[in-house]
Point group: C2
Chain length 246, copies 2
Amino acid sequence: MTISYDGSCYCGWQKQGNTEHTIQGKLEAVLFLMTEEAIELHGSGRTDAGVHAKAQEANFYTDCVMDTAEIRNYCNRRLPEDIRVTAVREERERFHARLSTSGKEYVYRIWNSQASNVFERKYLYCFPEALDVERMRRAAEFFLGEHDFKSFCGNKQMRKSTVRQMTGIEVKRLGDEIRIIYQGSGFLYHMVRIMTGTLIEVGLGKREPGEIADILEKRDRRAAGYLAPPEGLCLERVFYETDREE
Amino acid sequence: MTISYDGSCYCGWQKQGNTEHTIQGKLEAVLFLMTEEAIELHGSGRTDAGVHAKAQEANFYTDCVMDTAEIRNYCNRRLPEDIRVTAVREERERFHARLSTSGKEYVYRIWNSQASNVFERKYLYCFPEALDVERMRRAAEFFLGEHDFKSFCGNKQMRKSTVRQMTGIEVKRLGDEIRIIYQGSGFLYHMVRIMTGTLIEVGLGKREPGEIADILEKRDRRAAGYLAPPEGLCLERVFYETDREE
């Protein structure tokens, strides 16, 4: 299923103990009502507390005979209004929403103005100081390609590989908004938000664009910039091999 | 001052008794803190409970010596995050935010899709049934010009003139959204929402576009369509004579 959510009021995607306030928790509760099976939903990845998703992907197994449109409608009638199932489809049995991904796109939105944006305030990081987008763009280019992103990983105990492939980064100004679009093979814990905080420091003139190469080389979280807040971040889409065949 | 607000959580613009949950009430409370004067704020017009404004206009008189930027910043530091003062300027003494207006623009946004819009849900009227925009456009043309809009007035006790001048109506489809832009000399209580409800009935095929002329002629609220809900409506801007001189 493809899921859209406003993460403002949730403790993130992943179910934690008896915290009912997670996206996964809300969805599993509805799927249990529907199927009377103890369904486990496998997301394409976790999103943190306060992070949004336009198209998160998740899979589950069921013996339920409802068709895909019925499942979608059933869920949407019972979910809170800030979570919506936008599509449901049947997949091959070996499909796994996390293991089968070929990449993801995240968008980080910065509201770079003295005047705040009343209507989209929950989806923007409000940052009124002047930012030099051209400098941010030059810095972003250093992220492209395959690198060890250990300096941009928020998990200190990370034992697995921190090597990731960044396939695209675009930094654009749309009026008062600066939008950063990240595409890559996969993203580490807090990676997009630390990259964003670092690019903001470059935009402020506190760092040089070329420093990004040194930060990557250091493989040390302390070398990178600050963690940008969650509200500006949105998981835009998740790619699977089948998308590439189209 | 120019004010932007998300009206979702408020009982409308106008202060009512001891209802503190109004936009006017919130603003006057902050202006009182700032000036220690019992300031009365004159809005360009009321907006109903749940209606939004991108640029509402209001004026007040004060002996306070703060400059306009200081006033704006003072207000924004103390206002709730869904109300923002976007500009403050000094005006000629005879200026009155309501009496000096030459016109207004309202925008009504309809989300015309089976899939709901999670992120903009508070600013859209979700209406999933198919609507024929071309029919709505033909109907809208009958509103143009000067008419007695009594059939589109929600106030049964209205004693004053119900004649208004509609200077522009645009009905456009933007993907899943249908946006109706109304410009006119002034608007009666509930007028935009009743016009919208009536245009939706035309879009559904329940009424013919040409019926608008008959409804106007009847001068009877019962002849018009239903009252569309407040969440889709936004006061976009208020015009003053000075705008025309520019």
